[in-house]
Structure formats: C-alpha cells, structure tokens
C-alpha cells in the first residue's frame, strides 16, 4: 500500500502525482493516436522520463501502448530504445538514485512483470530484439530481460526454454565485443541458470565454459574485478548438482584451465601493504568453491574420483598445497583452501600420498600435516580453521590404511625420535590438554586413524604414556578411561567415548584390555543408570550404554568378571532393559547427531555445535541394532526407534519380502513338479494293479466254467452213456486238477509280477510269497506321506505368500495416503493462489478508480479556479520543465 500513501500522503506529493497521472495519460494518448513517428517518439521519450518518478502511473497506463510500439515501430531503434528503458524503470526494484525520497516498492516490479509475461509472446518479442546489433536496442533488452528474470525467475525460465533458440541467443551475448553488454549478459545468464538443470546444460553446450574461462583470463583472473566474480558465480551455477555438466567440464579439459588461477605469487602480497584486496579474497573463495563443487563427497563417486585424478595430474593439487604453505594468505582463504585440499585428496590414494609428502618451508622443514595439526590443537587459531584442519586430516586417512598406519606409527615407542614433533605427539597432547575443543579434535582425529582397521586398533594398545615423575607409565586406553572418569567438559567426555567406542568395536583384545581394569564397567553402569537429564548428559549416557554394548558384542570371554553373559546380567539387573534401550535410542535422535550424519565436511559455525563426528555416526548406525539384540538376548528388539526407520527401511523390507516371495514361489514350483511326477507314478501303478486284477478275475471265471458240469440236455440215459459220461467226468476231473495246479502256479507268477505294485487294494491271498507285496505297501506309504508333507509345505508356502502380499498391500496403502495428503496440500496452495489473484484484481480496480478520481479532482479544482476560488497552485509549467530536465539526463 506504499504507493497509495505516496499518492495520497503529503499535499506536495498529491499535486505531483495528480499532474503526473494526468501527463502520463496525455502522453499515452499521444503515442497511440499520433500518426507521426517523430511525435510518437517524443511522447515515448517523455514517458521514459516520467517512468521512474511515476512508476505506478506509467506501469498501469502505458504498458499496452508501449508493447504496441515495440511491435509496430521496430524499425526505429530510438523509439524502441525509449520504450525498453521505460519498461525497465517500471519493472526495476532498484532504488533510483535521483529521488531516494520515495521508498521503492519492491512488489510493484513483480506485479508489472507478471502482467507483462502473461502473454509469453512479449518475451519472445524481446528475444528477437537481441538479434538487433544496435547498442541502443540490445543493451536495454538485456537489462529488461535481467530484471524480468529476477522478478519472476521460474516463469521466465520456462518461457525462454520453449522459445526456439531462446537460450542460445542469450548465450551469444557473451561474445559481444562491447564490454557493457557482455558484462550485463553475465548477470542475465546468472539469473537464467539459477536452479534450472536443463537450461544449465544448454548453456554449457553453447560453449559457456570456454567463454567464461576466457573472460576470467582477460579480466586478470583472481586479481580481476567484479566481472571475474560474476563469471565464477555463473560457473558455480552451471556445475553445482549437475553431474552431466560436471562430466562435460572434466571431459572438456577445463579443470586444467583452472589451474593457472591458483598460481599465487608472493609478489602480490608484498606489493600490497594491506594484504589481499577484498575482491581478490572473494574471487579466490569462489574459485576454491568451484573446485570443491567438482570433487564434493556428495557427487557420484566415480565422478569425484575422475576429477581428483585430473587435479593431481595437472598440478592443481600441488598449487593448492602451495597456497597452504604460502605467507600472507588471509585466514579465511586459507581455511577454504584447507577444505578444498581435503576434498581433492579424500579417498584418493595417489592424492593422499602426495599430500603426505608436502613439506612446510619451516626450519627444520616439517611435514605439512604436522604443521596443520599444530594449528588444530592450538586454542588461539580461528575455530573454522581448526575444523578445516580436522577435515583435511580425516580426508587424508579416509579409506587409506597406509596413511592410518603412518600416523599410529608415530605414537609407538620404536619410532620415537626425540627431536622432531610428530603427528602422534600432537594428537596425544591435544587429547589430554585443558581445551575441550582440542580434546575433541584430537580424539576424532585418532578415531579416524583406526577406523575400520583392526591392525591399527591393536597397535594403538601398545601406546604407553609417561605420567608424573616416579609413577609407572599408563596405557593410552586406560588414560582415556581415567580422563573420562574425572568428569570435565561434556565435549571432552563425548570425544573420549567416541574414540573408545571406535577403538573397542570389532577388536576383542581392546575390549579385554578395557575390561581388565575393574573400575571401567562400574563407571559406565553408574553413568547409564543416573537420571540426570541435561541435554548433553543424555548424550553421554547414551554413549556409555553404547560402549557397554560394544563390550558385550566383541567380548571373547577372557575377562572372568565381565564375560558376555555376566555383562548382560549386570545390564539387565542394574540398568534394566527398558532404560538401557531408551538411553541408547536417544543418541540417534539428537539433532546434532542428524546434522553430523549428513556429510563428512565439518560445517560448524560455532564451537558449541561440535558434538558428533560423521564417521562415528556411521559406526553407531551400524552397531546400534546389534547392541540392542545382544543386550536383550532375543532375536528381535521391541520398541526400536519409534517412527524412525523411514521409507528406506520399508523399501528394504519390501525388497526382502519380494525376494522371499520369489524364492518361495520357486520352491513351490519345484515341489509341485515333484508332487505331480509322483502322482503320475501312483496312477501308473494303479493302472497296472487294475490290469492284474482283471486278469485274475478272468482266470477265476475260466476256472468256474471249467469246474461246472455240462448242462444236462441229453437224458436218453443208457448205462453206457452214463459210464462214458462218468469216464469223461473223471478225465475232466483230472483235467480240472491239472488246471488247478496250473492256475496255482500262474497265480504265484502273477504275484511275482505284482512285486512292483503298490496299490493297497490288491488283496489276492493266492500268492505264496507275501514279502514283495509288503515292501510294495511300504513304498506306497512312503510316497503317500511324501505327498502329504509336500501338500502341507505347499499350503504353508501359500500362507506366507498371502502374508507377504498383505504386507505389500499395506505399504501401497500407506503410499496412497501420503499421495492424497500431497494432493490436498497442492489444492490448498492453488486456493491460496486464487485468493491472492482476486485480491490483486481488486487492487487493480482500486488503482483505476483512484486514477479516475484524480482526474475528477483536477477538473473540479480547475472549475473552482475558474470560479475565482483560491486553490493551491499546480504549476503545470514547472512540471513540464522537470520533464525536460529528466529527459536530458537520460537521453544519452
């Protein structure tokens, strides 16, 4: 509502605005109605002159008319130039220097921009003006597009993207020989590429890297001015989070081209009494960040590895290390250089090796690592610098067993060289001095020297420390425990607990060393069971619980008092399972933990933020569950991380279940195959049995027929006949007997045949030999029981399948709910937008009304004047003079 106040506020302002609105209206009319180009041009020029002071009036009244001019009068560069400038002033939210009295309304520019881009053709039209070489057209076009982009970035980006060759045309501006245009084009491209991956890629495709690096060179590299800064910001824009462009940058050998920019000569510092200029510091910072963008631990690993390799080969790493050791480098540049070196060497063995070989130009020469560590444990050094050194040290050790052993070696008695300062000495000193930050940095540094390296964990056990005179030396491990028990600052305690956890994890010997001092376990127990509930104390308690758990997990039962089961007993009795679990879970829920777990880089701003180490959070994540399992003694733990696991967990679960289902399905298929083949065998056997049965009954029938006397048909009985019949009968009896024996032998044959039969329905007792049939039955039973067990197995598999499916369904449901929620939010957003739209419209209407009223008031005033009333004078002449003045000021 600022503009309302401006217009209606002071009487002076009222007059100005009134006459302004009036003049604008008259000028607009002239532009739209005049048939003479000269006339129109003059009117547009006057509008331009008024557009800063009467932004609102010009914006509301002249927009369409000026758009018309752009389309109709495009052959006249001068009028186009005035029109473009007018748009620029209306849209721009930059305060104009000539009247700083009126506060700039930043909302206004955005609103006018929105109106302007409602027709995307307007933007297309502007892009065609870029083809005009005339400075008076091209330059204001660049400026106008820039201001449109900064007002409505996303919308403009989408519009420009779909205009054929839109992005390309903007890129061509970088080749303009006129520096002003080129420099403004850099600003334009910065706005254009911000947060838009596809535009970034097109710009890169159009040779942006080459052009920008050339400009940086022309402008004097890091010694150059703000143009270099703009170039570096643009490079950063094109590369950040854009893997494709990073790959193109590397493949195009542009890393090699960055190298000379890091060649700082000591002359520079010497030639300037006050050290580096602010601009040079800024440029150097951006240059270093550019390198970091290419080797960030968050990039895909192969990408980072490839870039690291190139940086070593082309000597960029070497130059960076020289900056580390150079004199006169401002502290914040030095800090950023250390961070950069860290990421260039992190996980790359050749680069780590090179870094280890760098010597500081001290007398005697010392390894750069040692010099850096000296700063880390020095309270007087800036906090961010100390963080950077730790990060560098961690990166030096990351995934490199050789460098790990090099560091541990410097702690061992054999390597002791009384005269030189070693990394090991510095770390031990830092671990036990009075500065909690030094304790923390040193403990974490040591942790990284043994992480995932059992050999070095064991080596570190050998380290003995000399205490006060006359007392026997004490082991490093025990000294850590002693320190811990002494209390002290929370940061120190957390640091010591982290190194102890890291040390004992996966190292049973270290565990037994730890347990052999009978004071250690009771101390941990007392910590975990105490009920103090300060935010930091909770972390300490949780870490103590974790350490206890590790003592259980990696316990080889050599310490009698604290065997695995003894520890478990103690934890369950003295702390209680629930309480233990609670304390442990608290650790991962701490916001400092979440922060540290995000990325390896230490991006702390204040010493208070130093709590957890990235590598430690990984260890914790890995072992937390196992500890809980071991302590609770059951396979699964109840009440684990409520609401914690997140989508990844479910995904893993789903995958697991899918695999299971798949495996079960395969199993099932196999079982079904086996079952169907045995069913087939059973069927075949049944058929055989049936056949045998049929044969048998046939034979029986035959036997029956043969055994029955012939039908009595001829009864003309003579004795002879009877006799004959009798004989016949006898012989037939004989035959029958014969047949019977025959049958008997056949029967026994048959039962031999049936030896393979397994049908239980076969009960022919005629067989003399019972054994074969018994074995048949046995086999049959076996197969049957197999069948039954297979069926049950299949059923249970089916059941598991169903369960898995149900689980799937549940997850899908969950997803749908989330989607619905999202849709609701989108809708709400839409509604809010619509509300805003209406409000805006109302506002526009009000503006129009206001303008109307202004004119009316004006005419009333005139009438009053005519009627002879005394009215405060408007002084039209003054006004016109002012217009002329402005005009002269801006025309060139």
């Amino acid at each position: 509502m600022d503009y309302f106040r401006n217009i209606l506020g002071a009487p002076q302002g009222e007059m100005q605005a009134t006459s302004g609105a009036d003049t604008v209206e008259r000028l607009c009319e002239r532009v739209s109605s005049s048939t003479l180009l000269d006339d129109r041009r003059d009117a547009v020029r006057a509008l331009k002159a008024l557009s800063k002071k009467f932004r609102l009036e010009v914006g509301t009244q002249a927009m369409d008319i000026l758009l018309n001019v752009l389309e109709q009068d495009r052959n006249d560069a001068e009028i186009i130039s005035y029109a473009l400038d007018t748009f620029y002033y209306v849209m721009s939210n930059e305060p104009t220097d000539e009247d700083d009295a009126t506060p700039v309304n930043s909302g206004l520019g955005c609103e006018f921009t929105e109106i302007f881009i409602k027709r995307p053709e307007n933007v297309t039209l502007l892009l065609t003006f870029l083809e005009e070489y005339d400075f008076h057209v091209r330059w204001p076009t660049v400026k106008l597009l820039t201001v449109l982009l900064s007002n409505k970035q996303k919308e403009l980006q989408e519009i420009i993207l779909v205009v054929p060759m839109g992005v390309s045309r903007l890129m061509d501006l970088l080749s303009d020989s006129r520096e002003i245009i080129r420099n403004d084009a850099l600003l334009l491209l910065n706005q254009l590429t911000k947060g838009h991956g596809n535009i970034q890629k097109i710009v890169a495709f159009e040779n942006a890297f080459e052009r920008i690096i050339d400009i940086i060179k022309e402008e004097g590299a890091t010694d150059g001015g703000i143009v270099v800064e703009d170039c570096l910001l643009l490079l950063q824009n094109l590369l950040r989070n854009n893997t494709s462009n990073q790959n193109f940058f590397k493949e195009g050998s542009y890393i090699q081209k960055l190298k000379p920019f890091f060649n700082i000569d000591d002359e520079y510092a010497a030639s300037r009494q006050g050290g580096w200029s602010a601009q040079k510091v800024t440029n150097m910072h951006l240059m270093l960040q550019l390198v970091r963008t290419l080797v960030s631990p968050n990039n895909p690993q192969n990408q980072t590895v490839a870039c690291q390799k190139v940086m070593n080969h082309c000597g960029l790493l070497q130059d960076l290390c020289s900056i580390l050791m150079a004199t006169g480098v401002p502290a914040d540049v030095l800090t950023e250089t250390i961070n950069t070196v860290s990421e260039v060497i992190r996980g790359s063995q050749p680069n780590q090796e090179y870094f280890a070989s760098v010597l500081a130009p001290s007398n005697p020469p010392r390894p750069a690592i040692v010099v850096l560590l000296m700063s880390m444990v020095n309270e007087k050094q800036p906090f961010v610098l100390r963080c950077a050194v730790l990060y560098c040290f961690q990166s030096f050790l990351y995934k490199n067993e050789v460098s790990q052993s090099q560091i541990i070696q410097t702690l061992l008695p054999t390597a002791a060289d009384a005269n030189s300062i070693t990394a090991g000495q510095l770390l031990c000193g830092g671990l036990f001095n009075v500065d909690p930050l030094s304790n923390w940095f040193s403990a974490v540094a040591l942790l990284h020297a043994i992480v995932e390296n059992p050999t070095q964990k064991e080596q570190l056990l050998r380290v003995q420390l000399a205490t006060s005179l006359g007392n026997p030396p004490v082991s490093l491990l025990q000294q850590c425990c002693n320190m811990l028990a002494q209390g002290g600052k929370v940061q120190t305690k957390i640091a010591l607990l982290m190194i102890l956890c890291g040390w004992l994890a996966d190292c049973p010997i270290a565990v037994s060393h730890f347990l052999s001092n009978t004071a250690n376990v009771p101390y941990l127990i007392s910590q975990v069971s105490s009920s103090e509930a300060d935010d930091h104390e909770i972390i300490v308690q949780g870490l103590c619980a974790f350490l206890l758990g590790i003592c259980m997990l990696y316990n080889n039962d050599t310490t009698e008092a604290f065997t695995k089961s003894a520890l478990k007993q103690v934890i369950q009795n003295r702390i209680g399972l629930e309480s233990f679990t609670d304390k442990l879970i608290q650790v991962a829920q701490n916001e400092n933990y979440t922060r540290a777990a995000k990325k390896p880089h230490l991006y702390h701003k204040h010493p208070n933020e130093i709590v957890f180490d990235y590598e430690f959070t990984r260890l914790f994540k890995m072992l937390e569950n196992e500890v809980l399992k071991a302590v609770s003694g059951t396979g699964s733990v109840n009440g684990r991380s409520p609401g914690g696991p997140g989508i990844d967990h479910y995904k893993a679960l789903l995958k697991e279940q899918e695999d299971q289902v798949l495996a079960l399905r395969k199993n099932l298929e196999e079982m079904q195959a086996v079952s169907s083949s045995s069913e087939k065998t059973v069927l075949e056997l049944k058929v055989q049995v049936q056949q045998l049965k049929d044969q048998n009954s046939l034979l029986k029938a035959q036997k029956a027929t043969q055994g029955t006397p012939p039908p009595a048909g001829t009864n003309s009985s003579s004795t002879e006949e009877v006799e004959a019949l009798r004989r016949e009968l006898d012989s037939m009896r004989l035959q029958l007997q014969d047949k019977d024996t025959q049958l008997m032998s056949m029967s026994s044959n048959k039962s031999n045949d049936a030896a393979t039969d397994s049908s239980s329905s076969y009960h022919n007792g005629s067989s003399a030999d019972e054994k074969p049939q018994g074995s048949d039955n046995l086999r049959l039973q076996e197969i049957e029981s197999q069948l039954v067990s297979m069926t049950t197995e299949r059923d249970s598999l089916n059941e598991r399948l169903i369960k898995a499916n149900e689980e799937n369904l549940k997850l899908t449901n969950g997803k749908r709910v989330t989607e619905e929620e999202k849709a609701a939010l989108v809708k709400e957003h839409q509604e809010l937008k619509e509300d805003m739209e209406t409000l805006k419209k109302e506002q526009d209407d009000l503006l129009v009304l206001l303008a109307d009223q202004d004119t009316k008031i004006e005419s009333y005033k005139n009438k009053l004047k005519e009627l002879g009333h005394q009215v405060e004078d408007d002084d039209d002449d003054d006004e016109l003079e002012e217009v002329e003045d402005n005009d002269e000021g801006d025309a060139d």
């Binding site: 992005v167 890629k201 097109i202 495709f205 159009e206 790959n247 590397k250 493949e251 490839a306």
Partner: protein
C-alpha cells in the same frame, strides 16, 4: 589427452529406441536392460582415432519424449553430427523419421552429418522394419545408414566412428568452416603437424576406454 579435433554429436529419435543404450555401450561398453527414461539431455564423451589422429567425441544424448522437444531442439545448432535412431522392432519409430529429419534440418547447420541407425538388430524375430527399408530411406534423404545392437554391441563402434569419418572427410574437403565453433567442431589445443607423427599407425588401436 590432447586431440586433433573435437566433434560434437547429438543422438535423436523416438523414446525407447535405445539412444541412451547406444551411448552407454560406446562410452562404457555396458548394456542397460531397463529403460531409464532420459530427462532432458545427458552428456558422454570418448576419444577415437581416425587416420592416425586423435578425435574427441562429445555426445549429447537427448530425451525422445515429446514433452522434452523444446529442450532438445536447442542442441541441434552447434552439433557436427547426429545419430538419428529408430527401433527395427517398432514400425512407428521408423514412420516418425520424416518428422525428426525435418526438425533436424530446420534447426541445425546445413553441413551436419546425419547417420540413420536401425537399432536392436539382435531382435531379428520381432523385426518390423526390413533392412532394405532403412537403406532406401537413407539413400532418399542423403544419410549414412547402419543397423546396430546396443545389446550385443554389433556395429555400435562403427556407427560413431563412421559418422566421425564423414565429418573428417568434409573437413578435408573444406566444406566445414572449422574456425566457427558453432558448427560443433573444434581444433585441438596442441594440434600442430609436429605432433602427428606420434599417432601414425595408431588407427583403430587404442580406441575405447576412458579418454584421460
């Protein structure tokens, strides 16, 4: 590391015809069985040897989906070579070639070398477009033609290298203006006649693998 020439390529064609797979096979010698829809454009690069000269290929693999057309059009200008790909198992991808060609001709520089590629030649059983049809289309429109398989790698090297040979020939013939980088061609930084003897006989030798 140093090269005599640098050529910029684009790969175009309907979605799913195997553009990304062709690039992956060429740069990494791998095949990706799952369709990983390209969003916008992806970059890849490799060094090859032609006529004893090291030539760096910078390749932009574009999205075939219609919705990305306005983005991918920005890459026509500034490319020296284009691989126009269709899928021999899907006739519609062949039918769309005319549209692709019109688009390319309209937005690219007139000298751009276009290689027509019928991909998925390993799927002979599912073939819908005869090899002769591809040849005929190429002849009619003045393109080079090849059938490839991104899966078996058959002809993949050849497709990229033959395109480069054609561009190289055009340079020799003076057709390309090599000083105008907008044509997608760049002369190497250390390209001097003295260096060439190093590369003699290297043709076809250490192609492939990484270029640095």
């Amino acid at each position: 590391m140093s090269y005599a020439y640098l050529f910029k390529y684009i790969i175009i064609g309907d979605t799913g015809v195997g553009k990304s797979c062709l690039l992956l096979q060429f740069t990494d010698k791998r095949f990706q069985p799952v369709h990983d829809l390209t969003i916008g454009v992806e970059f890849g690069a490799r060094m090859i040897t032609i006529d004893g000269k090291q030539i760096k290929l910078q390749i932009w693999d574009t999205a075939g989906q219609e919705s990305f057309r306005s983005i991918t059009r920005s890459y026509y200008r500034g490319a020296a070579g284009a691989l126009l790909v269709y899928d021999i198992t899907r006739r519609d991808t062949f039918n769309h070639l005319t549209t692709w060609l019109e688009d390319a001709r309209q937005h690219s520089n007139s000298n751009m070398v276009i290689m027509l590629i019928g991909n998925k030649s390993d799927l002979e059983a599912r073939r819908e477009v005869k090899k002769e049809e591809g040849e005929a289309f190429a002849r009619e429109h003045g393109l080079i033609f090849m059938e490839t398989s991104a899966k078996t790698a058959a002809n993949v090297e050849e497709a990229f290298i033959n395109t480069a040979k054609e561009i190289y020939q055009k340079i020799q013939d003076g057709v390309f203006d090599i000083n105008n980088e907008a044509n997608g061609i760049k002369i190497g930084p250390q390209h001097s006649p003295a260096n060439q003897s190093l590369n003699v006989g290297g043709s076809g030798g250490n192609q492939g693998g990484n270029c640095c």
